[in-house]
C-alpha cells in the first residue's frame, strides 16, 4: 500500500474537527440534561440527577408533550407510507418519459427549493378561505409531503437511472404481466433503496417545523411544541426533551440502517452467481 501523503493527516484532523462541530453541541445538551435540580442551562453541573427527565412526565412543567409526540409519530408514519407509494409510482412514471414529465420534474424541483414558510402560508390560506379548519392530519400532512416527496423521488430517479431494463424484458419474454413484472422483478430489486425513501419520509416529517407551523391547527406536533418551549422554558427540562427526541431519532435511523444492512447480507447470501464472470 502506498504511503499516506502528509495532507492526509491534516485532512483527517480537519474531518475530526468537523465531526466535533457536528455532534459536540448535541452531546453537550445530552450531558447537561442530567443536571441536578438546582442546575442551569450551562456548565457547571450542580450534581447529576434524572430530575429533568422526571419533569417531562409532569403536565404542568412541559405541557402536552406526550400528546404532541404521539401526533408526530402517527403523522411521520402516514407521511412515510405515502412518500414510499407516491415516489415508487412517480419513479416508474418518469421512466416512461410521458408528455409533460418535464413540467412535473420542475414542479418537484420547485417543491424542494421553495421557502417552507410559503407552503405553510399558502396551504393555511387555502384552508381558511375554503372554510375547512386546518389539522395536522390533513393540511399538515399535505404540506409535509411537499418536502418529503422530492427527496423520495430524487432517490427513485437515481435508482431507476441505474436500473437494467433487461430484467423486465426477460420477465416479459417469460410471459409476466406488467403487474407481475413490477411485483416480482422491479420491487425486489429496488427494495433496499425504499428503506432510504422511508427513512427520509419519516425523519423529515418527524422534525419538520416551518411547513407545519400554520397548517397543524390547534393540536401541535412535537417540533412546534418544542419551539413553543424555547420562548418560556428556561430550565434544563428542554435539554432533557431534546436529548430524548434526538435519542429517538437515532434509534429510528439505527433501525432503518440495520434493516438496510440485513437486506444486503441476505441478498449476498441468497443471490445467484449466474451471469457473473468466473473468479
Amino acid at each position: 500500500m502506498k504511503r499516506r501523503p502528509r495532507s492526509f493527516y491534516a485532512l483527517t484532523a480537519f474531518f475530526a474537527l468537523f465531526l466535533v462541530f457536528l455532534y459536540g453541541p448535541t452531546l453537550t445538551i445530552a450531558i447537561l440534561s442530567f443536571q441536578g435540580p438546582q442546575g442551569g442551562l450551562t456548565f457547571p453541573m450542580r450534581g447529576t440527577s434524572l430530575h429533568w427527565f422526571r419533569d417531562l412526565f409532569e403536565q404542568q412543567a412541559v405541557g402536552d408533550i406526550w400528546g404532541a409526540f404521539r401526533r408526530s409519530l402517527v403523522l411521520g408514519l402516514m407521511v412515510m407510507v405515502t412518500t414510499i407509494l407516491v415516489s415508487v409510482m412517480g419513479g416508474l412514471a418518469f421512466r416512461k418519459r410521458f408528455a409533460g414529465s418535464g413540467l412535473l420534474f420542475y414542479l418537484i424541483v420547485t417543491a424542494l427549493v421553495i421557502p417552507s414558510i410559503l407552503v405553510s402560508l399558502g396551504v393555511g390560506l387555502i384552508f381558511s378561505q375554503a372554510g375547512i379548519p386546518v389539522h395536522w392530519s390533513t393540511s399538515g400532512f399535505g404540506a409535509q409531503l411537499t418536502w418529503t416527496l422530492p427527496f423520495g423521488l430524487l432517490i427513485m430517479f437515481a435508482v431507476f437511472n441505474r436500473f437494467d431494463p433487461a430484467f423486465e424484458e426477460a420477465a416479459r419474454d417469460l410471459g409476466a404481466s406488467p403487474w407481475q413484472t413490477i411485483r416480482h422483478v422491479v420491487l425486489p430489486i429496488i427494495a433496499p433503496s425504499l428503506i432510504g425513501v422511508a427513512l427520509f419520509g419519516f425523519t423529515l416529517s418527524y422534525d419538520e417545523f416551518a411547513r407545519t407551523l400554520l397548517t397543524a391547527g390547534s393540536y401541535n406536533t412535537l417540533p412546534l411544541e418544542i419551539f413553543g418551549m424555547t420562548t418560556n422554558v428556561t430550565t434544563p427540562v428542554i435539554f432533557a426533551l431534546g436529548t430524548l427526541t434526538t435519542a429517538f431519532s437515532f434509534g429510528v435511523i439505527g433501525i432503518f440502517l440495520a434493516v438496510f444492512w440485513l437486506m444486503g447480507r441476505r441478498r449476498a447470501r441468497l443471490g445467484s452467481e449466474t451471469g457473473k464472470p468466473a473468479p
Partner: protein
C-alpha cells in the same frame, strides 16, 4: 434500446390484439397521478393563492378580496424591505462561502483519502445522520456553548485570551451564520461527494504522470469535474438560507431580520395580504437565483 423494442413490439401487438395497448403517455400520467395531485393541491394551488391574496386588503382582524397594489407599493416604498433583502442575501453569501469550503474539504477527504469503500460509507453516514434529527434541537444545543457564561466564554476567560465575556457569541449575526453552517454544510457534502465518487481515477493518474503537483491536480482536474455537485449544493444552501425564518429568529434572539421573518411577523399580526406580497417577491428572488445557477448544471444528468 427502448425505442427499438417498441418498434419491434408494435406490429406484433397490432396483429395479435385488435385492442391497442394504452399509450406510454396515459400510463405515465396514471402512475404520476398521485404525485401530480399532491403537488397540485399543496404546492401549485398555495402559490397561486399567495399570488392572489397579495393583491387583497386587510383590516386589523380580517382580510378581504380586492385588487389593489397597496401591499406591493408599501413593500417597495419602505427602506426596511431593501435592508432586510440585503441582509438575507448577506446571510446566504457568507453561509454559502463557509459551507462550500468545509463541504468541499470533507467530501474531498472522504472521496480521495479514504481507501476502503466500507469506511467511506461509514464516515459519510456519520456526516449525514444529523440531517435526520431535529433542526430546532440542534439550534438549542448551541446555547450552552455560546452564552455569556457558556463554554466558549469560560474557556477563553480561563486561558486569558479575553478579560470580559464576549457578548456577540450568542444572539448575533455570528451565531446565526454559525447555526446555518452547522445545519446546512451537509447539503454541500452530499452532492459534492456524489460527483467526486464518479470521477475516473485514471484522469488523476494521468495528471500526476504528466507532472502535475497535488495542488494542480486539485485545481485543474478535481474542481472542474466537481462543478455540478458544487452547483447542486449551492442551490440547496442558498435556497434554504434565503427561505429560512426560524434560525434567524432563534439564533439572533429576534434582533436580526431576514425576509422570512418579515413574512412570519406579518402572519403573526394576521396581515396575510402583506405577508403574501413579501412572499411573492421572495419566491421570485429565489427562482431568479436558481435560474442563474441552473445555467451551469443539468440536474437530470446528475442523478
Amino acid at each position: 434500446m427502448t425505442e427499438q423494442t417498441a418498434s419491434l413490439d408494435a406490429p406484433a401487438a397490432a396483429r395479435a390484439k385488435p385492442r391497442r395497448a394504452p399509450s406510454r403517455h396515459a400510463a405515465g400520467w396514471l402512475l404520476a397521478a398521485p404525485l401530480a395531485a399532491v403537488l397540485g393541491l399543496f404546492l401549485v394551488l398555495p402559490i397561486l393563492m399567495i399570488a392572489i391574496v397579495s393583491f387583497w386588503g386587510a383590516t386589523e382582524f380580517s382580510i378581504y378580496p380586492a385588487f389593489q397594489f397597496d401591499n406591493y407599493a408599501f413593500l417597495f416604498g419602505s427602506d426596511v424591505t431593501y435592508r432586510v433583502f440585503g441582509n438575507t442575501l448577506k446571510y446566504a453569501l457568507i453561509t454559502w462561502l463557509f459551507t462550500l469550503l468545509i463541504g468541499f474539504t470533507v467530501a474531498y477527504y472522504l472521496a480521495f483519502h479514504i481507501r476502503s469503500l466500507t469506511w467511506q460509507i461509514a464516515l459519510f453516514l456519520l456526516c449525514t445522520i444529523p440531517f435526520w434529527t431535529s433542526n430546532i434541537i440542534r439550534m438549542i444545543s448551541w446555547i450552552p456553548f455560546l452564552g455569556r457564561e457558556g463554554i466558549a466564554n469560560s474557556a477563553l476567560l480561563s486561558w486569558g485570551v479575553i478579560d470580559a465575556p464576549l457578548d456577540w457569541l450568542l444572539f448575533s449575526d455570528f451565531s446565526v451564520i454559525l447555526a446555518f453552517v452547522h445545519l446546512y454544510t451537509l447539503f454541500m457534502v452530499v452532492p459534492i461527494f456524489n460527483t467526486m465518487m464518479r470521477i475516473d481515477t485514471s484522469l488523476i493518474e494521468a495528471a500526476v504522470d504528466a507532472g502535475a503537483t497535488g495542488w494542480q491536480v486539485l485545481w485543474h482536474v478535481i474542481v472542474p469535474l466537481t462543478k455540478p455537485g458544487i452547483m447542486i449544493g449551492t442551490i440547496f444552501v442558498v435556497t434554504l438560507v434565503m427561505g429560512d425564518f426560524i434560525t434567524v429568529r432563534f439564533m439572533s434572539g429576534s434582533q436580526s431580520a431576514n425576509v422570512g421573518r418579515l413574512i412570519s411577523n406579518d402572519i403573526g399580526l394576521l396581515q396575510y395580504p402583506s405577508a403574501s406580497a413579501t412572499a411573492v417577491i421572495l419566491l421570485i428572488t429565489v427562482l431568479m437565483v436558481i435560474g442563474i445557477l441552473l445555467r451551469f448544471v443539468d440536474i437530470r444528468k446528475e442523478l
